[in-house]
Symmetry: C2
């Protein structure tokens, strides 16, 4: 019997979109359960640690975005060819998560003044620092982050690029990083991902 | 030829201690390179993303604490028996990392007033929330976090318990959580870990 996947997340891209991208890449059907704020108040206590996304796999509950992405990467055979490649993929994923956390800190800043100060640092220092290193990595690895072939962290990265719009960045964000820009375009051009992009509901972030 | 491990970290327990615990558990010799602040200014640019710890494995550089811990867990055959167990181990590890991040936020609070406010929330809400769930998990899994047997996340958890002293918590922190408390004692009693605890240099945190 086919594996039954149910993603529980809010009606946004956010953290859940990486999982939606991976499930789409794997071309497996999944229930895309979008939880309203009203439902969330009831559901929260039933989650492992009060957070979404969770991914139910044949009714067993997986949680933590990267743990779920890594699991799906293994299922779809895009999780590295050996233990060292796996470790490199994991390290890039945690690095991108660090960057996403810094971005979220700007979005969540308590007032305009601190937000603008944090945003300037993010745009002028943090993004260039991370993106220049990540761009070099993709250049050195034949168009992918690790091992010269597609892995789940390439999809994880791409699924998050749009998310930088929460701090006012658009797709031009990658214009100075040709290898990251190509990686982003290539992943988004995959037929299975294209199909997802066309059918997903609109959300602002 | 035996694998050559070199850990680069500061002269503290901090993030590096989890890796030291795991290398000790695996009973492999490793160079415990403790980087002074002076050295760090020179070394920083040579790290993958300006951060420590890094673990050199036969001169190749691994980074991101959890990626390194997971890699060592696999080398030492304590990384789960199947893909689902691996995902559960990963999810617990990221959950503990979330808790550690909240703890660090208290430590790094910019002034006494906000520190005390954050600390109260941590001690009265956050720790009880996480620890009660983690305690139940250990109860349900025969004394370990996942699958009724030791995995690297048990060692990751234990290596961090002392770290909660940065917000003024001592070992009593676990007194209301008998299963976590036993897990912590059991891991610390393993001969290979005991041996590490006896020989490691003192550091305050």
């Amino acid at each position: 019997m086919a594996t039954k996947y149910k993603l529980n997340y809010f009606n946004t891209r956010g953290q859940g979109e990486a999982i939606r991208f991976l499930l789409s890449y794997g071309e497996v059907p999944f229930e895309d359960n979008r939880v309203s704020i009203h439902e969330w108040h009831q559901l929260k206590r039933a989650t492992p640690f009060g957070k979404l996304p969770t991914l139910e796999v044949n009714n067993e509950v997986g949680y933590q975005t990267l743990a779920v992405c890594r699991y799906l990467g293994r299922q779809f055979k895009i999780a590295g060819n050996d233990a060292w490649e796996e470790a490199q993929i994991d390290a890039v994923a945690d690095t991108i998560k660090d960057l996403n956390t810094e971005t979220l800190d700007v979005y969540l800043a308590p007032d305009c003044e601190s937000k603008e100060k944090l945003r300037e640092k993010l745009v002028n220092e943090t993004f260039p620092f991370y993106f220049s290193k990540l761009d070099k990595m993709v250049l050195d690895n034949g168009g992918f982050f690790v091992g010269g072939q597609l892995s789940w962290v390439d999809i994880f990265f791409t699924s998050g690029v749009e998310g930088y719009n929460v701090v006012g960045m658009d797709e031009d964000l990658l214009k100075n990083y040709p290898n990251l820009s190509d990686l982003n375009k290539n992943i988004r051009s995959l037929p299975a991902i294209q199909s997802w992009l066309k059918k997903r509901p609109f959300s602002a972030f």
